[in-house]
């Protein structure tokens, strides 16, 4: 039988994690419970859902938003600071599953699953998010694009838990964008996800550019060639075409049961172009 631990505090959760590094971490279950029948039962489960120290939105000493890893997407959607300072994340949260899923699914769970189609993950890349992880040895923070290391893998240590996500203090100044192209309007798995943010100079030039995609590679990625193409330039139609072409070198989509590589490539380019056009 599977052992089930539901620690009442973060300290006890970290102790359980240290003691049982082979136990499955369950943050809401919206992903893990799908297909649970088909997989061998885990040795044990550490159920983190609802752990108070992991929930909620606060501000870190640097002035940036700190989102507890156990915060549900439903909770993110009702938070004014998230809506005004992280509109791309707010928009992504609205398209996670449906209301029932949003009530259980958590930001930390999305990060922990580390799926190439995780709805919030391209936003974390586009908004320079950092992941705060903890163990009984202490805490550390690392940029999300270092944290996510590949197809459904990440840099979480065997005794660590994802505790929070941090955003830069001035993130609200950036122009942000989000678009999910899924199999249908709701309850849908993404075919292509696009998240972006830019800062503009007084003359309109792009001084900072972040372009990120999901579902077009083995992991969520930043489109670095596209970013380079955009940074330092003034958006216009020609630049939009150039950025659209550049991002194609950043992505490597595949054919699967949900879409085709050709479609994903085509749409990814068009979304990047649409974003640049929206800045022009």
């Amino acid at each position: 039988m599977t052992e089930w631990i539901r620690p009442p505090s973060l300290d006890e959760a970290l102790a359980a994690r240290r003691e049982h590094p082979d136990f499955m971490l369950l943050a809401g279950g919206t992903d893990l419970m799908v297909g649970a029948i088909a997989r061998p039962a885990p040795v044990g489960v550490i159920d983190l859902f609802g752990l108070p120290e992991l929930s909620g939105v606060s501000r870190d000493p640097a002035g940036g938003l700190r989102l507890g890893a156990g915060t549900t997407f439903a909770a993110l959607l009702t938070d004014d600071a998230v809506r005004t300072e992280l509109p791309a994340l707010w928009a992504a949260a609205r398209e996670v599953g449906a209301l029932q899923i949003q009530a259980r699914a958590t930001l930390g769970g999305n990060i922990g699953t580390s799926s190439p189609v995780g709805d919030s993950l391209p936003v974390l890349l586009a908004l320079d998010a950092e992941v705060e992880v903890a163990s009984s040895r202490g805490t550390r923070r690392l940029a999300y694009d270092e944290f996510c290391t590949g197809y459904r893998t990440h840099a979480l240590g065997g005794d660590e838990l994802i505790v929070a996500v941090h955003f830069p203090a001035d993130i609200g100044r950036r122009v942000q964008a989000w678009r999910k192209v899924g199999t249908r309007r709701a309850q849908s798995i993404s075919k292509v996800m696009f998240a972006a943010s830019v800062e503009r100079g007084a003359d309109g030039t792009v001084t900072l550019a972040r372009l990120a995609f999901g579902a077009v590679r083995e992991q969520p990625i930043r489109a670095l060639a596209g970013e380079q193409c955009l940074a330092g330039e003034t958006p216009d139609a020609a630049l939009a075409e150039a950025v659209a072409a550049a991002v194609l070198t950043d992505i490597a989509p595949i054919d699967d049961v949900r879409s085709t590589a050709d479609y994903r490539r085509t749409v990814a380019g068009r979304l990047a172009r649409r974003f640049v056009l929206s800045l022009a």
Partner: protein, 784 residues
């Protein structure tokens, strides 16, 4: 036709569904909810290859089999066969037998828990000599692998309107429009997966399950188990949707559960999980229709030459009748003097395709309505005017030589559609989200008909029966094998019987559809439940009322003092004279009469058998005559918008005007139309069942998607009522017709929006992207 007294009027109203409270509160017991003490659980072991010879079934020697029973073909007491149209499908592939598709059942493992059965099933391995396999129509036609006869043709059917040389007629036409239309498989995705419980008692096999047609299962189990009519009892549990998916496949589950129960000596539950259900049960037939249409310069249709291919899968199952309905609808609701239709159902190494709402007609409707859209453009006519110019009307003759007589709503549905178009359209749903692209818009139209009831001489052969009885406990019971699968049969039968009896609907009970309690009314399919069986229910109820009234008149003259008890049992509504009450018989309503009859004489029941209307004659050899007793008629209009970046489609408006004869329960009828319309939009735009080497590649609700309410437009449903003289209160079939037209309307709207021919389904964004890339529309996706 009976119109009873006004105070008991129910037909035409929309009372609460009789099964509504139980379903909403969770009190309703679906098959997996039934308490079955001591039941073990079955799990089916299936092939791993699409074609081969089964050599051995091996049980893992390291696994503990002490609490597991393994059922194989050797445990079958009768014939190893799922009886349907052709005796070709085994219940379990025997050793040395041929495996014809990848989900073919080889054994059933039975264990005390579902988890144990699943685990045990993973420790069974098969030794199979694999054979080359074929998985699509082209491979079936090439016949390099022969699965059925020399040519893989499971069934060939032809319609010839006349003796003219169709090629010569077409060559002489001013215009010939030609197209090839392909449509994909579709999953029914009923909310409740398939399930069955079997137990043996006193040498009799009792089966209860999620199913549409108890007598189909009954027919299949008798030879399998070598039992007689009364030794197999098949009942329906509350069923969560069918759409045709629970027409024939439940016989397979019932066979497996019954054999498992026989061998274990225990009740056995066999409940499919969603993945298994999607992978193994029947889907809508993939089809390819080549359609040539000849017309004069003035838009008058002259000739149609149609070639219909459907993928029947590994066994014949229901494909011959699906093919029949496909070809009988292949030229649509239009006057066409010269017609040739050839249909073939092809064998492939794919799990058999089967019944799904529309039953072949949606595939050919897609083809002919795309043709009509193109033809209207070709001759430069407005799409509606073009259809009006050619529509079948009362007195016209169909492709099979059927002269339409009565209840022809072709103009009425188009009138209704045009009227609705004049009204202010609803505000289209705007796309949620940022970074939206410009859209292209298009409008598409479809006009179609759908034959109600069984094809050809089917209803005459079926002789559907229904009984209405007075119950010893008071009130009346309707006994029929027509099942409520969510479509509202219980409620409309209650309405029809109550009104014919002249009693309040609370006094009418519908018996559980179990073969030991109800007569064979025929299957719950083919848009026939209300029109055909409802009519028989009405006749039986009317006969019972008349019999009671006749008895009441003679009894009251003999014994004028009615018992006080019968007076007290009057319905809670305002007391009114019973219908047809003869002067001098006293104020006895039918309920009181029935009570008195039970007290003084005994039980009373009336059974009636369906009789086709006079003049409905069909010749199976020449495929001529009255294909259906009557047709439903529909007009559908779709407005849609296509996102230029993603080619995602938003259906902004969907108008659907349907001639239903008479709506017994308008809210249920509208619900049927809305559900069918969305199912059709889903088939057109979102629903895809890809196969890889004969195996469903997306067997989950995550990937095998259907539209959600967020994808649905505000459906504008218009009920048109052109009464049918032989349906109850004028009603005719409505269950399937909403499935037929919308896909063609969607495709024509997309063609207008994107400027490329949209002749295949589903029109996923990936398909649209391919079509746009291939076929011009160069500006799509360019800067804008």
């Amino acid at each position: 036709m009976t119109e009873s007294n006004g105070s008991q009027r129910s037909v035409g109203d929309s009372p609460p569904r009789v099964d509504g409270t139980g379903k909403v509160t969770g009190a309703a017991l679906y098959v997996d909810d039934l308490p079955v003490p001591g039941a073990w659980h079955g799990r089916t072991v299936r092939s791993t290859v699409p074609h081969g010879i089964l050599r051995a079934i091996r049980l893992d020697a390291d696994f503990d089999w002490s609490q597991v029973v393994v059922v194989t073909a050797e445990d079958i007491p009768g014939r190893n066969l799922i009886t349907l149209i052709v005796d070709d499908q085994p219940a379990l592939v025997p050793l040395g037998g041929t495996i014809r598709h990848v989900e073919e059942a080889v054994a059933v493992v039975v264990a005390p828990t579902r988890a144990a059965a699943l685990e045990a099933s993973r420790h069974v391995t098969l030794e199979v000599d694999a054979l080359p396999s074929i998985h699509d129509l082209d491979a079936a036609l090439a016949a390099a692998v022969r699965l059925h006869g020399d040519d893989n043709v499971q069934k060939r059917l032809e319609i010839h309107r006349d003796d003219a040389d169709i090629d010569a007629v077409l060559a002489a036409c001013d215009h010939v429009v030609e197209g090839v239309y392909t449509t994909g498989a579709q999953e029914q995705m009923y909310i409740e997966t398939q399930g069955m419980v079997a137990r043996w008692e006193d040498g009799r096999c009792h089966v209860v399950g999620s199913l549409q047609c108890p007598y189909y299962v009954h027919t299949a189990l008798k030879p399998l188990l070598a039992l007689g009519d009364d030794e197999v009892i098949v009942g329906q549990a509350v069923t969560g949707g069918g759409f045709g998916g629970k027409e024939e496949y439940p016989s397979m589950l019932a066979a497996h559960a019954a054999l498992a129960s026989l061998k274990t000596g225990r009740p056995v539950k066999l409940i499919y999980d969603r993945g298994e259900d999607i992978a193994v049960t029947t889907k809508r037939h993939p089809a390819r229709v080549r359609h040539r249409l000849g017309l004069r310069a003035d838009g008058t249709l002259v000739a149609a030459d149609v070639d219909v291919l459907i993928d029947g899968g590994a066994y014949v199952t229901l494909s011959p009748v699906v093919l029949s309905r496909a070809i009988l609808h292949a030229t649509g609701p239009y006057r066409i003097p010269h017609v040739r239709v050839v249909g073939r159902s092809m064998a492939t190494n794919t799990p058999p395709h089967g019944a799904f709402r529309g039953f072949g007609a949606p595939q050919t409707t897609f083809a002919y309505e795309r043709q009509m859209a193109k033809a209207a453009v070709r001759v430069g006519m407005d799409p509606i005017a073009f259809r009006r110019h050619n529509l079948l009307r009362d007195g016209d003759t169909t492709a099979t030589g059927q002269v339409l007589s009565g209840s022809v709503g072709s103009d009425a549905v188009v009138d209704a559609l045009e009227q609705a178009l004049e009204a202010e359209p609803p505000t289209p749903a705007t796309r949620f989200g940022t970074l939206s692209a410009p859209v292209r818009r298009g409008r598409g139209l479809a006009v179609c008909f759908h034959g109600a009831g069984f094809t050809g001489s089917g209803e005459a052969r079926l002789m559907g029966r229904a009984t209405v009885a007075a119950l010893p406990t008071g009130g009346f019971e309707v006994r029929s094998s027509s099942t409520d699968i969510g479509q509202g049969a219980l409620t409309i039968f209650t309405q029809i019987a109550a009104q014919a009896l002249g009693v309040d609907p609370v006094h009418v009970h519908i018996a559980q559809a179990s073969t030991d309690r109800v007569p064979d009314s025929g299957p719950t399919v083919a848009s026939r439940t209300c029109m055909v069986v409802g009519r028989v229910v009405e006749q039986a109820a009317t006969a019972l009322r008349e019999r009671l009234e006749t008895w009441g008149r003679s009894a009251s003259s003999a014994a004028p003092a009615a018992s006080t008890a019968s007076t007290a049992s009057a319905p809670p509504t305002a007391p009114t004279p019973a219908p047809g009450t003869a002067a001098g018989a006293g104020a006895h309503d039918v309920l009181a009469l029935a009570r008195r009859h039970l007290d003084q004489v005994g039980e009373v029941a009336e059974t009636r058998t369906y009789e086709p209307p006079a003049g409905v004659a069909w010749d199976d050899d020449t495929y001529t005559g009255s294909a259906y007793p009557v047709f439903g008629w529909a007009a559908c209009l779709v407005d849609l918008a296509v996102d230029e970046d993603s080619l995602e489609v938003t259906v902004e408006r969907c108008l659907h005007a349907i001639d239903v004869g008479r709506a017994i329960h308008p809210r249920i009828v509208k619900g049927q139309i809305e559900g069918g319309t969305l199912q059709a939009l889903g088939w057109a735009l979102w629903e895809s069942v890809p196969y890889a080497d004969g195996r469903v590649a997306n067997p989950s609700m995550t990937d095998c998607i259907i539209p959600t309410s967020s994808d649905a437009p505000e459906l504008e449903t218009i009920l048109v009522e052109v009464p049918y003289a032989y349906g109850p209160h004028g009603a005719k079939g409505v269950g399937e017709i909403p499935m037929d037209g919308p896909a063609a309307a969607v495709a024509s709207a997309l063609e207008q929006a994107l400027g490329v021919a949209c002749d295949e389904l589903p029109l996923l964004p990936e398909v649209l992207q391919r079509l746009v890339a291939q076929g011009g529309a160069a500006s799509i996706g360019a800067s804008s």
